[in-house]
């Protein structure tokens, strides 16, 4: 099993400092000239934040990532359109697009996925999230009950896979239906987007055991992660399916451990987080960058320490790493240049033996 490293597009803005508002690089927020009157600014309104997002996507590909995740964020730009927008500027990158099952019709999602796969050589992947609480869902035009959220995702994936792999395909469920659907000719037989799901509840794990290709856990200690993988495994034994393991984490990696902790501490102070650090272990802090990147846990250390930690996760069974760090553009290069090579160096001989 090869290991994939997936970077992230900060769809609602990015920041360098813990105390800074999110910034949409390249985008003018007002007509105000941002420089002093004595300095010219050639940009005008030629650029907006999407130009920068496009550059992050290219950076992650150039730096050696295998994919990029486009998170759904009510304050941010739309992941499906961004996925199309970066598709022709990238060559190999898997484009992991996040959305909720309230997106719309499962057939229409599958139909759009077909064109996407045709144009990108099958690089489109789906992360379907359960979303927030009932009140948040209603702000998204979604009035489904809490108890139906998982079943709707299951139907969505079932119908989408059905029309992508069979023709004619019919299904009538509680949320989606289709009669004699499916794609013909060149639209048929396209790569089914791999489905990434996440979460720690019983319902999350059961859903993944039924329909996920990859289940994503938040980073925890290796020992705890092994327990979580085991409980997913007990469910996939029942469903007789294989579900790969993904891990979501942020990284603060620097030349030395000292620099990494200095930067982590400074960032934390800037965010005005008070009290003692919420540390799962010395190098694993909770809540540090969640407000910017969405990751609940940050791995902190020297390049060697961070790589060793990623290797330990890989050895525990993780095959997809969903990484981010701020600012996303610069850190894509840093991690691509300093961390990923160390991990690959260690894991590749093993992968070769396994092959």
């Amino acid at each position: 099993m090869t290991i994939e490293f997936i970077w992230q597009l900060p769809t609602s803005g990015d920041s360098r400092y813990g105390n800074a508002d999110k910034l949409r690089r390249g985008e003018r927020t007002s007509a105000e000239h941002p420089y002093s009157p004595g300095v010219t600014d050639p940009r005008g309104t030629s650029f907006n934040y999407l130009d920068h997002l496009h550059e992050i996507a290219r950076a992650s590909e150039l730096a050696g990532f295998d994919g990029i995740r486009i998170p759904e964020d009510a304050e941010g730009d739309d992941p499906w359109i961004l996925a199309g927008y970066i598709s022709r500027g990238t060559r190999h990158l898997k484009i992991l697009t996040e959305f909720e099952a309230s997106w719309g019709s499962a057939v229409y999602a599958a139909k759009n996925a077909v064109s996407f796969q045709r144009f990108t050589g099958g690089r489109f992947a789906w992360q379907i999230k359960t979303g927030g609480d009932a009140q948040q869902r209603r702000t998204q035009g979604d009035f489904v009950k809490d108890s139906d959220v998982h079943q709707r995702i299951e139907e969505f994936v079932t119908v989408a896979r059905g029309v992508l792999t069979q023709s004619p395909y019919s299904f009538k469920g509680r949320f989606f239906e289709v009669l004699n659907g499916g794609f013909q000719g060149p639209l048929g037989g396209q790569v089914v987007p791999p489905v990434y799901l996440s979460g720690n509840t019983e319902a999350d794990l059961s859903l993944s055991a039924s329909v996920a290709d990859i289940h994503i856990f938040d980073a925890v200690t290796v020992a705890k992660l092994k327990e979580q993988i085991a409980s997913l495994k007990s469910k996939t034994d029942d469903t007789k399916r294989k579900v790969a393991i993904g891990l979501r984490l942020d990284i603060i990696a620097r030349e030395t451990e000292q620099e990494a902790f200095r930067d982590a501490t400074r960032y934390r102070n800037q965010t005005r987080q008070t009290g003692s650090v919420d540390a799962l272990e010395e190098h694993l802090w909770g809540g540090l960058t969640t407000h910017v990147t969405g990751a609940n846990v940050t791995l902190i250390g020297s390049y060697q320490q961070v790589s060793a930690a990623l290797i330990a996760y890989a050895e525990a069974g993780v095959t997809s790493f969903l990484l981010s760090a701020t600012p996303h553009f610069e850190e894509a290069y840093r991690i691509g240049e300093h961390v990923l090579p160390l991990v690959h160096e260690h894991l590749q001989p093993q992968q070769r033996r396994a092959a």
Binding site: G84, F99, G141, E177
Partner: protein, 386 residues
């Protein structure tokens, strides 16, 4: 007031001429291996593929002076949202006209998709709102809602979209959609609201169009019939205190002489099988009023391409040559321009033109026909000589 002229993007492949189905660009036609490696078909090797050809057409259309293009969506086509997003960075003025059925998307999702597409293109996205043809095709899409309800749903969808676009928290209680304090992020709500071209010929459609559409879009119909249709929609809209414009979606075959233009059609017609001609206009079991109006003009027997001419320079057999709507204009450059001007006189404010192959014909029509169209100005147009 001036008129807008759009082109069309062939999302279902296309032959290299009206005369013959081969060689066929795009991978919908089997046995096209010679074109495969050049990107006119789909490549299996991750090199060029059909989107590269569509990018060429979008460039050709913008260089030739078209506003942009309609990007049709049917069960056998590629999808316009993805095409538009993919081509956003490599076009400058091309406006992406996206047909979609509101029933297939959550309106909050659609608002965010649209705003992001506006940000990606500098405001070049617009809608062609369609409400579906019913019948088996509608169930193929996974939609079992009845005809008039579909239009009710379309109206609600556009109510919400418009409400969200104001950038303030917005709530709505409809029969088909509800939202509770939905809001479009500030950076997104600053974008221009998309212009809406609306398709639909029934009374339910006109009711919905008159509330939300900027342009009422019709296929080409016999000119008198079209005039009545446009008058009716303008009247309905006027009652609501709104103004609506009208647009015509029409194929054209334009050549230096009328004879050459009809030869093109004749050769295409003569290459057809008897069965194809027999089955022409038999319908698909849907509930589309527009389709019924189109096929209503079909003659009992068809012995020659001439039997399908229902007024000067108008031929109703285009569906035989390339699928889709069936009425189009055939003639010399001057004649085609004159017919378009006649349509302007009877109420058209915009056109979506198309001709096969879309790439080369974008240049021909842009160079030879568009300069002859007077549009709605009263100033005399410069006529090309010879």
């Amino acid at each position: 007031m001036t008129i807008d002229i759009f082109w069309r993007i062939p999302t279902h492949g296309e032959p290299s001429s009206h005369r013959s189905k081969t060689p066929h660009r795009g991978d919908w036609f089997p046995g096209n291996d010679r074109l495969r490696e050049r990107g006119l078909v789909g490549s299996d090797e991750g090199e060029f593929n059909y989107i590269d050809y569509l990018a060429e057409i979008a460039h050709a259309a913008e260089i030739s002076g078209f506003q942009g293009g309609l990007i049709p969506s049917f069960p056998m086509t590629d999808e316009p949202w993805i095409i538009s997003a993919a081509l956003a960075r490599e076009t400058e003025t091309f406006r992406f006209m996206i047909p979609f059925q509101p029933g297939f998307l959550n309106p909050v999702t659609a608002a965010r998709m649209t705003a992001t597409l506006q940000r990606a293109t500098g405001g070049r996205a617009l809608y062609n709102v369609i409400t579906g043809g019913g019948g088996p095709a509608q169930l193929w899409w996974g939609d079992s809602t009845g005809h008039d309800d579909r239009y009710g749903r379309t109206t609600e969808f556009l109510d919400i979209l418009q409400g969200l676009w104001k950038g303030e928290p917005f709530s709505y209680q409809g029969k088909f959609y509800q939202v509770d304090n939905a809001r479009l992020a500030e950076a997104l709500s600053k974008e221009d609201y998309p212009e809406i071209y609306f398709s639909g010929s029934s009374d339910a459609a006109l009711a919905s169009a008159s509330k939300h559409a900027n342009y009422y879009l019709s296929w080409l119909e016999p000119f008198d019939q079209l005039r009545q249709k446009f008058d009716r929609v303008k009247e309905k809209t006027h009652l609501l205190g709104r103004k609506i414009k009208c647009a015509v979606r029409v194929d054209i075959v334009a050549r230096p002489t009328e004879e050459e233009a009809w030869d093109e059609v004749r050769l295409g017609f003569e290459a057809l099988s008897k069965e194809a001609i027999q089955n022409f206009g038999r319908g698909d079991g849907g509930d589309s009023a527009g389709a019924a109006r189109q096929w209503g003009n079909r003659p009992e027997t068809i012995n020659s391409y001439k039997d399908l001419i229902f007024e000067p320079n108008v031929w109703s057999g285009f569906n035989l040559l390339r699928g889709g709507q069936t009425n189009g204009i055939v003639g010399s450059y001057e004649q085609v321009a004159e017919r378009l001007d006649q349509l302007v006189q009877l109420g058209a404010d915009a056109f979506i033109l198309a001709s096969t192959p879309h790439l080369e014909e974008a240049y021909r029509v842009g160079e030879e026909v568009l300069p002859l169209v007077r549009g709605s100005t009263s100033a005399p147009a410069l006529r090309a000589v010879g």
